[in-house]
């Protein structure tokens, strides 16, 4: 009985899988995605990048949730954040995850960048993925800057004032920068609206496709962890190169008699020939 149900179920699910594959091609796509061979030795290093991806996903999820209660006006913003913290069910958790994963995000971006830099992972053919990564870094910094003002408390407010004032020192365009950010010539409701629009729509809309591009380029060229992924192959290469080098010496010897070969080299070669 159970066997029959199982066969029937598996038949049904097989039919469903085949149907989806024929109509969408999603099964092949998933297989390509899941069964890609990736370097083994550096697996824990690559979790830095995926930790960044995970924390930014948490940002998107909890950010959307916070929007259910947050009110982006100067007279209600602080109150609504306070309501989220004190009255909404699990409000403290949702905002806590948004806050703490933002902090983790910045830390992991730093570590991820350092890992890529010191392992030389940005080299050809992966240059553009590094460039996309730097753009992503700038966008995340923009998100961190604009998000801080939204709670409209003393910390966020004054940090943003300082940030905007720094913008006013940009050579030649300082005035334009600060008036764009302020939404006028004084800090007020327009400033909060602007930061809200930038934090909630503009930058996330820009960051999402770039994350896609980052992952696509990653898959196109493969993960590059570090040279230690290639130790054996490098050893083989060097061995072959050395062999070729000796072969060259051999021919030189035949043509022009005994060339000068250092004692150690000779010993090496003899040892090698014995093998």
């Amino acid at each position: 009985m159970i066997g029959r149900i199982r066969t029937q179920t598996s038949e049904a699910s097989q039919f469903l899988v085949d149907w989806m594959e024929h109509r969408t091609g999603i099964v092949t796509m998933l297989e390509h995605f899941l069964y890609e061979p990736v370097p083994k030795r550096g697996a824990w290093l690559y979790t830095l990048g995926s930790a960044v991806l995970f924390t930014i996903t948490l940002q998107f999820l909890t950010g959307i949730l916070l929007l259910f209660y947050y009110v982006p006006t100067t007279d209600h913003a602080w109150n609504s954040v306070s309501y989220i913290m004190n009255d909404a069910y699990f409000g403290q958790l949702i905002r806590g995850i948004h806050y703490w994963s933002a902090n983790f995000l910045m830390a992991f971006i730093g570590l991820h960048m350092g890992q890529v830099f010191f392992s030389g992972g940005y080299k050809a053919p992966r240059e553009l993925n590094w460039v996309v990564g730097v753009i992503l870094l700038l966008l995340v910094i923009g998100l961190a800057f604009t998000g801080y003002l939204l709670r409209w408390d003393q910390d966020g407010f004054w940090a943003s004032v300082v940030g905007m004032k720094i913008g006013s020192y940009s050579p030649f365009v300082g005035g334009y920068v600060v008036h764009f950010l302020l939404g006028g010539d004084a800090v007020g409701p327009a400033t909060l609206s602007r930061f809200f629009a930038i934090h909630v729509w503009l930058l996330p809309a820009a960051i999402a496709p770039l994350i896609g591009a980052h992952l696509y380029l990653l898959r196109r060229h493969g993960v590059f962890g570090s040279e230690f992924e290639y130790t054996d192959r490098l050893a083989k290469l060097h061995e072959r190169q050395r062999m070729e080098e000796y072969a060259r010496y051999e021919t030189v010897e035949e043509d022009e008699g005994e060339p000068y070969v250092g004692r150690r080299d000779r010993a090496d070669r003899e040892g090698y020939e014995e093998e």
Binding site: A43, G96, H98, G120, W152, D153, D155, P171, E229, Y230
Partner: protein, 161 residues
């Protein structure tokens, strides 16, 4: 030169390892699923649990409502802007503030974009075999960390009166 993606070259047995193709595929590979996904999952789960614990142990801060007319509040940036904020201390006066706060970071970001073209030697991935890039990288990290420490010490020593 333009190596295809990992694992898409010829089978291992037929391949002759040359300078060009040595980095085409690593020595050992695992399938992305389950091996890599599992490790990513461990880290992600750890982060999520840490976030949950921290949101109750150290709730996300919400200080008093913004007051533009305060004369007692001490503004402090978030920790990841500490090094930048500290850097501004070293650039007094109109010309230098522009220079330190905007021009230097812009140049730095420009250099960051240009890193793949500044360090082009294709076979030197190892940090030790390209000492210049590594030393510059280490110096940048040291400057950032020292500036952060300076900012922290300045904040801790600020007169409260």
């Amino acid at each position: 030169m333009y190596a295809p993606a990992t694992g898409k070259a010829k089978p291992v047995e037929e391949e002759v390892i040359t300078e060009e193709n040595v980095f085409e595929r690593p020595d050992e590979t695992i399938a992305f699923f389950p091996g890599q996904v599992l490790k990513d999952g461990y880290v992600s789960t750890f982060i999520l649990i840490a976030c949950v614990v921290l949101s109750y142990a150290a709730p996300a801060p919400l200080t008093a409502p913004a007051n533009t007319a305060t004369v007692t509040y001490v503004p402090r940036p978030e920790w990841f802007f500490f090094f930048y904020e500290q850097m501004l201390m070293f650039f007094p006066g109109y010309a230098l503030i522009s220079f330190g706060a905007v021009v230097v970071p812009t140049i730095f970001i420009g250099l960051l974009f240009a890193v793949p073209w500044l360090d082009r030697s294709p076979q030197h991935y190892n940090a030790i075999s390209r000492p210049f890039a590594s030393v510059v990288g280490v110096l940048v990290v040291i400057v950032i960390v020292l500036n952060m420490l300076l900012a922290v010490s300045r904040i801790m020593n600020f007169p409260t009166s």
